[in-house]
């Protein structure tokens, strides 16, 4: 409760939350407001927004209703962002936790792998993964997760390195708690807040990565993602700029929302800067 108050005292964070709620509302009402397949042919392609009362955001280059795609796309973008983030965080936390907790050879080994992933430009790895495993949504989401975990691992490891020597962990050890219980029961809950805050960064980047893939025509065409709409709209960028601008704006707002919420969480969790 106190936390929520601290959070809401920050107007930017509160705005982010409202924005995020709006995006969630889009996703939730998509099926209600646009029951038809958003990828179906709705009308003549490239109708301008507000020119046809049936399509208040116009139609795209393949005659789909842009509004429907924005609403349904909110689902897709959130799912991409969320699932990819969960994957990245899971991998990152696991690797970071083991490396930070055990140290020594295990740490060396895991950090080498992490280093390998960090040295390799992540977008390049994403391209390779998509080229190898194809462009369906599952692959893309997993691939984005797989290229995004190293910072989470480093962050978790750093937290573990400081926390594992904290007295409450040592106390747990003197009480005879096992490693698993110390890692997941004692240290992890305390290491998570900065990682959760960082998750907002991963989520924002995940949404942007998907749109970059769509730009290179490597995203899944069977889902109404905003990235696909931008990627497609790119061909008509000069005249019908709205086709890519509308989803571009949607991405911007979503990433903005996620970032603001992340920053708000960070400020609320970091008492030193609470009053700033």
């Amino acid at each position: 409760m106190q936390f929520l108050q601290a959070y809401l005292r920050n107007p930017a964070a509160a705005f982010g939350l409202v924005l995020l709620a709006a995006v969630l509302a889009l996703a939730a009402t998509a099926g209600l407001l646009f029951p038809d397949n958003p990828l179906g042919l709705a009308g003549r392609p490239l109708q301008w927004p507000f020119s046809n009362p049936r399509f208040w955001l116009g139609t795209d280059h393949t005659g789909r209703d842009i509004a429907a795609q924005i609403f349904h796309g909110a689902r897709v973008s959130l799912v991409i962002g969320f699932v990819a983030t969960v994957i990245a965080i899971l991998i990152g936390v696991l690797i970071g936790a083991l490396a930070g907790y055990y140290g020594g050879v295990i740490d060396d080994l895991l950090m080498r792998v992490t280093e390998a992933f960090q040295i390799l430009p992540n977008f390049l790895l994403l391209l390779v993964l998509v080229a190898v495993f194809g462009s369906n949504m599952e692959t893309i989401v997993v691939a984005i997760g797989v290229v995004s975990w190293p910072p989470a691992a480093r962050l978790t490891r750093a937290e573990f390195l400081t926390l594992r020597n904290r007295e409450f962990v040592q106390a747990g050890r003197t009480l005879g708690l096992g490693d698993a219980r110390l890692i997941f029961g004692e240290i992890l809950p305390n290491a998570l807040p900065p990682v959760i805050v960082y998750a907002s960064v991963i989520m924002a980047v995940a949404i942007l990565l998907e749109s970059a893939l769509a730009f290179l025509n490597l995203s899944d065409p069977n889902v109404p993602s905003w990235g696909n709409l931008i990627g497609g709209g790119r061909a008509v960028l000069r005249d019908q700029w709205y086709v890519s601008a509308i989803p571009g704006f949607a991405i911007l707002l979503t990433v903005l929302a996620v970032s603001l919420v992340g920053q708000g969480l960070n400020d609320a969790l970091n008492p030193k800067l609470k009053n700033r």
Binding site: N37, L39, G40, L41, R44, P45, L46, H61, T62, G63, V130, A131, G134, S135, N136, N217, L218, S219, D220, P221, N222, G232, R234, A235, V236, L237, R238, D239, Q240
Partner: protein
């Protein structure tokens, strides 16, 4: 000279008549006096691995190399074969021996003379062994005799129609210097990336990923030509960026529909540019729908026809392609005057009710959710319109209860999926027609092609009748009979329907109005541009 003009006329038919006229007579007709000098900047979307048209047959190679390296023959504005390095030709009665007279006084860019030995080497070592499409064309080539330095006699084990060979040689008859290639590993010869030829322009510089520069060849055999100082090709991958380069004056020409459809449409209204399909008539393409007969629903011809009936091609062309195209009537496009069957019509025109009826009849009724079955569609992304057509297919088939899942791969992977592992139910891409069905098209239908060869018959379908028609037409020397055989082939393929040629499409060029003498021959982007000039 052994051949008389009369014999030549008889032997090579109407197509060769233009050889009698001065080839340049019409070239200067339109514009004023050519201006010397200037640099022509040309947009190219993707880079080729090697710049050798006698190893790689591809418009991407021709658009650059045809200015440096010349082929034996070229096409005129009406698509008729005209002399280039070959000045005259003759076929023997049995169609097994073709004699070429070669142009005299032509020099390679390195100063050595061009002779029949060069042609002999190219034909036997490159065209027959390495050059894609040509290996099939020259399959029966046994020998090339060189009775003198300017005569080359091609000897075939089976008759080869002269008009087929000549039409093909415009693309598949580029000659590179024998003295540079002989005795080397031809695939790794440095001249593949720094080409040497006889053409109007000499190679200067190739910056990978950036540009290629050529400059005027002062020793060119057409005296007084070429007019331009230089030609620069710029590699611009992104279509939108390429349009911007055109509009900001960084490049003056983009050929072969390498810009976005919407930009082509829009630039058509721009007074500074000409947007035209003219000059690219020799290359046409279709949006195709390929069927995989390994899938039981697809193997039923009623289903295949139903799919075609369900797709409103005129709507697609009008609304998705900015009207750039026509519904196709079969594998030979209507611009191919020599082969297009007279009474052609669209085989399975848009008729949703008919589509539904056919599917019901085939036993694939809608289930409770209104669905009949699902198909996996692999788009082969040759161009921007392929994903559009894939989407349109998805949208259209959804309306007759067929759920289409589009499987998006990158280019190499989609080809492998369709033609190597047959991991598709339906596929869509481009078919390119190059003037003669035997050059470009029959390979799509002839059985016997091993898995892994793209754009061949990998549908799990085979027809003895079609195979026979293809083989007969390939060695039929009588043009009229050939034309009849191909008409029969079109009818038969439309009947059996292993592949649907849905649209027929022109390649568009966007060119600045400053560029003169452009698009004045049927394959202008792939021609030598010897007479092209820039107005001030």
């Amino acid at each position: 000279m052994k051949l008389t003009r009369r014999e030549l006329l008889l032997s090579s038919g109407a197509l060769a008549t233009s050889a009698l006229f001065p080839p340049l007579a019409w070239a200067h007709a339109a514009a004023g006096q050519p201006r010397k000098g200037g640099v022509l900047n040309v947009h190219v979307a993707s880079e080729q691995r090697i710049l050798n048209p006698s190893l790689r047959a591809s418009t991407g190679v021709y658009i650059v190399t045809s200015k440096i390296i010349e082929s034996l023959v070229d096409l005129d504005d009406a698509g008729r074969v005209v002399p280039q390095l070959a000045t005259a030709w003759e076929s023997s009665k049995d169609g097994k021996t073709i004699t070429f007279k070669l142009r005299e006084g032509v020099k390679w860019h390195d100063g050595k003379p061009f002779t029949s030995a060069d042609v002999q080497y190219n034909a036997l070592e490159l065209w027959k062994k390495h050059l894609n499409f040509s290996t099939a064309l020259q399959l029966n080539l046994q020998a090339v005799d060189t009775p003198d330095a300017h005569t080359a006699v091609f000897r075939y084990s089976r008759p080869i129609p002269l008009d087929l060979l000549l039409r093909a040689l415009a693309d598949l008859g580029y000659v590179v210097p024998r003295h540079v290639f002989e005795g080397t590993n031809v695939l790794e010869n440095p001249a593949n990336n720094a080409p040497i030829g006889t053409g109007p322009y000499r190679f200067v510089q190739y910056e990978r990923g950036q540009y290629i520069i050529v400059e005027r060849n002062p020793d060119y055999w057409r005296k007084g030509e070429p007019h331009l100082d230089r030609i620069v090709w710029r590699f611009i991958t992104d279509k939108t960026a390429a349009t911007a380069a055109l509009e900001s004056g960084q490049v003056q020409l983009s050929a072969y529909s390498q810009l976005a459809l919407s930009d082509i449409d829009r630039l058509g209204k721009n007074p500074d540019f000409v947007v035209t399909p003219k000059g690219s008539e020799a290359n046409q393409f279709n949006n195709t729908l390929e069927f995989n007969f390994r899938r039981k629903e697809i193997a039923d011809v009623r289903v295949r026809r139903a799919l075609a009936h369900a797709i409103n091609v005129p709507f697609f062309i009008e609304n998705f392609l900015y009207g750039q195209g026509r519904p196709a009537t079969g594998l030979i496009p209507s611009v191919s005057k020599s082969f297009y069957p007279a009474d052609s019509k669209v085989p399975y025109a848009y008729d949703k009710a008919r589509a539904e009826a056919l599917l019901d009849e085939a036993g694939y009724k809608r289930n409770a959710r209104g669905e009949r079955f699902a198909l996996k569609l692999v788009p082969i992304n040759n161009g921007e319109d392929v994903p559009l057509f894939a989407t349109f297919i998805q949208q259209s088939l959804a309306q007759i209860g067929i759920k289409v899942e589009i499987t998006n791969f990158d280019y190499a992977a989609s080809l492998a999926a369709v033609y190597k592992t047959h991991d598709f139910d339906i596929a869509t891409g481009w078919h390119q027609y190059r003037g003669d069905p035997a050059v470009s098209t029959t390979v799509w239908l002839r059985s016997g092609s091993p898995a892994g060869a793209p754009w061949t018959n990998q549908y799990g379908w085979q027809s003895d009748k079609v195979d026979k028609l293809i083989d007969d037409a390939a060695s039929e020397v009588d043009p009229a009979k050939r034309r009849a055989l191909y008409a029969e082939l079109v009818r038969e393929v439309n009947e059996q329907f292993p592949i649907w040629f849905a649209t027929e499409r022109d390649f568009y060029s966007v060119v600045s109005k400053k560029v003169q003498n452009s698009h004045n021959v049927a394959r202008w982007p792939s021609s030598s541009w010897h007479d092209t000039w820039l107005s001030a």
